[in-house]
């Protein structure tokens, strides 16, 4: 079985967001880029599975749609342990565009892992779109993934509970936290090895986009926090009841 892990390249989660001149994107000057946190969980789980079932899983490949600027992020994924990286050389315009690009390479992988969200535009869209484009089954909000004979044992969160499923391949699993305990940080050896691993660059296919950002703005600023003395908890309850009217 070959596993494909989709890798988003996103600003570090502590980045202070500044907008570009026409306010349709962010000013990327000085931004540190990371693997999208959920994709990092997915990659970690893929590596764990490959180690546990060396005979059954032949390779873990990572893929990203982006310009050459995303290569350090892909190298990091290789350093974590992926065997090969694929970059489809195009600006990621929107989820639809990204999914149609990935569809050209993804079909041959029996298992595709995507993150439940990307921490930049919080779309929760690429994984599901890709599954539909490939006309394959998908499971989402996955918190556990294991092999069971020639099938996959999946744990997913449903709204108000959890479910264990037995799924056949090909499958696209959209994963969230819980799937892997600690994300893997590349070790020195991994970083050295990553330099010589293949990073294939592929030309994009003709595609369009379905959405466009007209404007970005900052959320409204909050009024100053009203402080209540530690020994006056009753006053807090009164404020929540009478002023904020939320109790």
């Amino acid at each position: 079985m070959k596993i494909l892990v989709l890798i988003g390249n996103v600003p570090d989660t502590t980045t202070k967001i500044k907008f570009n001149a026409d306010q349709t994107g962010i000013d990327t000057a000085g931004v540190q880029w990371i693997i999208n946190p959920w994709d990092e969980f997915a990659l970690t789980r893929a590596m764990e599975l490959k180690e546990a079932y060396a005979g059954a899983i032949s390779s873990v490949v990572v893929a990203n749609v982006g310009s050459s600027q995303t290569e350090p992020t892909l190298r990091k994924a290789l350093a974590v342990g992926a065997d090969k990286a694929i970059r489809i050389d195009a600006e990621a315009k929107d989820a639809f565009f990204v999914a149609t690009q990935l569809a050209q390479i993804a079909g041959e992988y029996e298992l595709i892992l995507a993150g439940i969200e990307a921490s930049d535009y919080n779309g929760s869209a690429v994984g599901g779109m890709l599954a539909e484009l490939l006309d394959r089954s998908s499971v989402s909000a996955v918190t556990g993934l294991d092999l069971k004979d020639d099938k996959l044992l999946v744990t997913r969160e449903i709204d108000g509970g959890n479910q264990h499923l037995l799924c056949t391949t090909p499958l696209l699993a959209i994963v969230q936290k819980g799937i892997a305990k600690e994300v893997r940080i590349p070790a020195m050896r991994g970083i050295m090895m990553a330099r010589t691993k293949p990073l294939e660059v592929i030309a994009p296919v003709e595609s369009s986009y379905a959405t466009s950002i007209q404007k970005l703005e900052l959320p409204p600023t909050k009024a100053a926090c009203k402080m209540v003395a530690e020994d006056n908890v009753k006053e807090l309850v009164r404020l929540l009841k009478e002023e904020a009217k939320v109790l």
Binding site: T13, N122, L166, L216
Partner: protein, 323 residues
Amino acid sequence: MSILIYTENWDGKFKKVSFELASYAAALAEQTGKQAIAVSLGEVENSELEKLGQYGIGKIVTAQDKRFATLDNKAITKAIAAAAKQVQAEVIILSHDNLGKAIAPRLAIRCNAGLVTAVTGLPESLNPFIVHKNVFTGKAIAHIKIEKEVKVLTLAYNSFGLNEKHSSVEITSFDPDLTDSDFSMEVLDTTKVTGKVLLNEADIVVSGGRGMKSADNWYLIEELAEELGAATACSRPVSDEGWRPHDEHVGQTGKIISPNLYFAFGISGAIQHLGGVSSSKVIVAVNKDPEAPIFEAADYGITGDALKVLPELIQAVKDTKNQ
């Protein structure tokens, strides 16, 4: 042309999110001059379906097929797409919950539609169709234009609220034309959280961070939650430590919630935590460090020991109830 919502049922019952969706669709229908229609999949009794009429839904198309209970993403997508075609839906709206998030992107592809997830309100304009959503985990708001004829949206939790608007409902069934091969997953078992207020749906959430010191102190969080009819939540390190289950973790990499009232006990207010809670209507923080960043996001705060404040707060809430 119509506005179509997908109303999920759990064991034949709708949850609050479905009524919020109905309220949203009714308002959008009014704005656009179209009809608000719901599609329901699986076994739901008419008396339950009719409840959607209290929130402005005029028509319901239903496929009473038990097989939907496995929540097969592919099958549900096909079925909603079939309903959308039948009622010529122009806008299709789902909840931004686990199921909605799983289905909406598939549906967008199937219906050749443009997708925006977790929208926070009615469109800013209809032509062009522009909606708002939070991006960069709450650090910015994006105005997004959908370039396609058909639109698929998911609605962020608690962003619209409930609006009663009585309407008589016409219930018709439709055939989504599915075969057994469309349902490919085998459900081994399902555990449902019972007797607890669900985090995503709660009006009030009581949350604790590492400042709660240990799992043994969580009875205080639980007792306050119980008094308030609230759900419980936690920061990421708390679930990483195993003090609380992962599904209680809120923040950037956990759940994103927007209750009316969020209590943060012993939570520093890291940017990744705030990403998941900053759209709460009112935030109360209790932290012994007056410089903790949580106070910048909070509306009300107490500088103090959470372990001392909690018992007093529980008592104060009890007292007001008894008044």
